[in-house]
Amino acid sequence: MFEIAFDSPWYLALLTILPLVWWFSFSSLAGLGQVRRAVAIGVRSLVFVLLVLALAETQWVRVSQRLTVLYLLDQSLSVSQQQSDAMVKYVNRAISRQRDRARQDRAGVIVFGREAAIEIPPLDEDQQMPRVETTVDREHTNLAGAMKLAQASFPHDTAKRIVIITDGNQNVGDAIEQARALAEAGIGIDVVPIRSSAESEVAVEKVIIPSDVRRGQPFDLHAVLSNSAGEGQQPAPVEGRLQIIRKTSNREQTISDQEIKLEPGKRVFKIREEIEQPDFYTYEARFVPRDAGHDTFQQNNQATSFTHVRGSGQVLLLEDFEHRGDFDLMVERLRAMNLEVTVRGTRPEELFTDLAQLQPFDTVLLANVPREQFSDEQVEMLVRNTQSMGSGLVMLGGENSYGAGGWTNTPLEEAMPVDFQIKNAKVAPVGALTMIMHASELPEGNHWQKVIAREALKALGEQDYCGLIHWQMREDWLWYPGLLKVGGGNRDRMLARLERMTPGDMPDFESSMVMARNEFAKLPDAAVKHMILISDGDPSPPNYGPNGAIGTLKKMGVKITTVAIGTHGPPGSTPLQNIADRTGGKYYVVKDAKTLPRIYQKEARRVARPLVFERQPGFQPQIKFPHEMIQGIDEQLPPITGFVLTNPKKNPLVEISLVSPLPTGTDDNTILASWTYGLGRTAVFTTDAGKRWATSWTGWQGYDKLFSQVVRWSMRPTGESGKFTVSTDVQDGKVKVVVTVLDKNDEFLNFLNLGSTVVGPDMKPIDLEIKQTAPGRYIGEFDAKKTGSYLLLISPGPGRTPIRTGVSIPYSDEFRERQTNEALLASIAATIPRQGKAGQVIDAPKNLAPAERLTKLLETNTFRHDLQRATSSQAVWHLLALSASCLFFFDVFVRRVTVSFDWLPLLAARIGDRVLGREGRPDVVATMERLRSSKAAVSDQLEQKRAALRFEPAPDAPGDVTSLKEELADSVAAAARTAKKTTSLTSEQEQEVYTARLLKAKKKVQAEMKKEPSQQENENN
């Protein structure tokens, strides 16, 4: 269907002067006769109208009858699996029954929790989804985000409707505001409410304890529990056990376990508690119902809270679980120096998972641990623990530390006083890494391949080379010329290229390996050449012969690590294992893609290994700056045989205490350096503690002093901080912090400037401003919508120990709101889209059986077309202007040229005679005669005109006339001769001959006329 529209319609007013055009034309074209005048006026009017339409910017508008419906499925935790399945069933039926195939309507599905994702893009197919396959963060409901994604996902050439299937309990975003935006865009909204299940619900709402207690000070722990009945149910008490558990850095203890009868409504249970040992304590209250049927959600049956009892400094030492005991000597000596040291390995089950778990410790020692043993979140926690919570962080060296440990380009590198990348190529031999990517059939394969390539690239040093081969129509390097130096700004460009990588189906490994081999051959000086290959094992194996890729790569010293993932059928792939075995690489079989980044970090570390500097028989570190960490240390330090190269940060805060005399001519020789990072302190010690490189230090008398001073310097200040009382309270997604301050005499301390830092569960800092509201009373508030621990550090001022506390949001808001938000859903559906009708709340009585309820819901057609139709317009003013121009010539033609139509009746008569078989009428002959005479008359006229234009010689040149006559006579005679010779000469040729002679004669006369004056001049002279 097509329509016409105007962008500048006010120009159409010019059409009112059309009668004037007619009036003027009528009088001025009177001489043309009636018919020609009418035609001329008509054409002129048309030209005028077309010009006006062009000025009005006429648009040719195409109207589409198609409709696209996007179903938005709430997948948050408040929606049960059963309800999710019912949603899928409803959507499948609605698409297959209601979609108008003739109209080519489209249907698509979006799922949402905290974020939204497209499950099925809008397609004109009867798509049936077996289940929801996209995973989203289910801990929140972001209706507005899903609506926004839907708006962006609609095709432009159809009408648009969304059908939201949700309980309406949004806890992120504003759906009403977004609904208005959708309505403005002409998008209709239908809503299918999800009814909450009828079961009753018990929840541990919170645990209240003072956040900062003194040793031996009794305090009350309050556990707040609630018991609510389901829709239409009678409130009833619920029986169960309430457990209170106390957790410290190294043990867990149940301090209360009692049978309780929880009456309907909110109830508070109080327990008296007293702490003797200084530590950071976590209290957890847990309710276990006797009958699980009385409780819909188990997730909200526990809550936690923190408190802190100050004491002497605590040290956490994290050691590589694969090399346990390497630092035992140092730990023993530190303990001997009265430091409380806790040693933990780096196995996932031993490592901290929450920032709160680091709070008992005042400094953390990373003892030769590689990067890949920590998750990104754990690295971020270590940094935040120092930057925002004031803890110390010390890295102790070894072959798995710093750049050699893959810590390059991590947030931890930023926190340290040295950079882990070496800029001096002479010092650090380069490494080269090639990655071959073939994991496209892995779920979210593209994403994971980008992640792992990014991790590997980040772990490489500036001097290292990196290349990536993938299949994109053919095997190809992702960047050129293949193996490219990572430094010099290339890393960022490579990372940008990674975003565009879409690896396809690689037929074999041989070609890619040959490409890699050719590039490796260009780097004969590379100390380490390494290749990582990820695949599902589908490509054809490489050639294992001596001249094949594997053989030649092995000769060049290239090791190939293979990662088998998404292999078809049984896990693993023999060809991939063969490749690794034959080249001395590692072979990994991966079932969970989440483990991939660690593998790539570890493998990239093999390339970064040249960052270790080793020399025998050893060299003596030298004191560069007498920092307090090395006070009282003998200047003659025992020799060491190695350390990890680092480069000091160009920052005046960096203090380098010890350096190595080797390598010379570089500043990559730091042994001990320190600086202040945020609220905490960090230090690097680039050699080890006596296991491999500093073996001669173990018997050195300064050993204990040096290490204990380094550790003590880095520790967070401890001790009594004065009479500060901090309390926190969580209400409606906000944490309220109240600080009460008394001086020595128990008088209120006023006008203090309390600094504060909050770190959320995502390790991001949160703004918290604490203001005085009453004498000695200071209050601040921050948003706490995410589940997890929020840790606060309040700085009372210079010279005072910071106060640490924490708040725990134990479970998602999804487990708090259980009733369907009818009001919100009704408001969304009632929004009237532009040029369309308001949506509908598609509902069915709750007491119906599931099948009947589904049938009832399907009675409302979600593909009904009562919405603004999509249009696409095309400007046609230029076509109109062109048409007007052409017609203007026709206008001139009509006025200037008389066209006779007398031949028409004759032609008609002749056709009639031919058709009817009549003989020619006599008047036809007469007509022909008339035509002939007319032709003769016209010829005479033309001849007269020609004669008038013809050149006539001047009468005063008789000699010329004679010569012309002679010439003409010659010409005639010649013509006669020619005619005798060639009787077939055409009249046209004759005419040409005649004309040529005339021209010749004319030229001759002109030439003689020119000669005459010159002769006269000569005579005169």
Partner: protein
């Protein structure tokens, strides 16, 4: 004046040489380009009649086109792309089939690659027979199956790749007869024998994809011919995945790596190419298979464009 003359001469020489240079430069693309696009059909999708990365195709004696795609559906189309019927393999979690062919009785043989077996269906999708199912390199065991074909005596040849790229021959009553090949680039060995065709003299043509060549064997596995080299020039091959014979001795090959179809004489002399990389009609994106109908039209499975292109070549 003299200088001007030289310039003019040089210019004229260049002018006269340019067409020849252009001719040489375009030798790859233009002078060997042959074939005419007849039709394009198929659309990406998972509903009936749509294709999701189709990887194998065969045409039966009734000119019905059988296509298996990444949803493990075998769909039957008319040669103008009308959906006729379809079915799915019993299980496909481990991976989807990559080969399909028609036997002498008109049954459909599906190389269920990642289940190490051959599925034989009636034309309407009834599973008649399953051959293999055990991974291994013993007789009757398989690696990744790629294709199956019957000779005039009813013997069955099944190709596979992986660790043991080989062809196994079975008697009409499915008894193991012999095997040949092995992984490698030496004559008679294979690197991913992706598809096979058999001519009217019972010579077996094998698209040795990752060796970028074609090999011809007799029914006893003796190597008769071998030709092809890796490259993108006419006459060269890059991952020949599909092969079809026209009964007149000419060989049609779909090249996964060169995104084209190439026509050869039986001796390996190229008779022209059709197609280039791209997404427009007449362009191909990693074509896996091709097949020929009774009228001599060639159907190319344009895998990553999720469609079929019909050409006359």
């Amino acid at each position: 004046m003299h200088r001007e003359l030289i310039h003019r001469r040089s210019f004229l020489a260049l002018l006269s040489a340019a067409p020849s240079l252009l001719c040489l430069a375009g030798c790859d693309e233009k002078s060997f380009s042959t074939g005419r696009l007849v039709s394009v059909w198929g659309r990406r999708g998972i509903s009936d009649g749509r294709l999701q990365k189709p990887r194998a195709m065969a045409i039966d004696a009734h000119d019905l086109v059988y296509i298996v795609d990444m949803t493990a559906r075998i769909q039957v189309f008319t040669t103008d792309g009308q959906f006729v019927r379809g079915w799915q393999t019993p299980v496909h979690d481990n991976g989807r089939p990559t080969g399909i062919s028609i036997d002498r009785r008109g049954n459909v043989m599906v190389a269920d690659t990642h289940y190490f077996r051959l599925l034989i269906y009636s034309p309407d999708g009834k599973l008649l027979e399953t051959l293999g199912g055990t991974q291994g390199h013993g007789p009757g065991e398989f690696g990744f199956l790629t294709d199956a074909i019957e000779d005039s005596q009813g013997n069955l040849y099944i190709s596979e790749y992986g660790e043991f790229d080989r062809i196994q021959k079975f008697s009409p009553d499915r008894k193991f007869l012999l095997e040949w090949g092995g992984h490698g680039s030496e004559p008679g060995r294979f690197a991913r024998p992706q598809s096979m065709a058999i001519d009217n003299r019972d010579q077996l043509w094998v698209a040795d994809a990752c060796n970028h060549r074609l090999q011809t064997f007799n029914t006893e596995g003796r190597l008769l011919k071998l030709w092809g080299a890796q490259g993108s020039r006419p006459g060269q091959l890059s991952y020949p995945y599909g092969i079809a014979l026209d009964g007149q001795g000419q060989v049609y090959v779909s090249e996964y790596g060169n995104h084209r179809v190439q026509k050869f004489t039986p001796e390996g002399r190229t008779l022209g190419c059709w197609g280039t990389d791209g997404r427009a009609p007449g362009e191909l994106y990693n074509p896996w298979a091709l097949a020929r109908d009774s009228r001599g039209l060639i159907y190319v499975l344009d895998t990553n464009n999720h469609r079929v292109q019909c050409i006359q070549m």
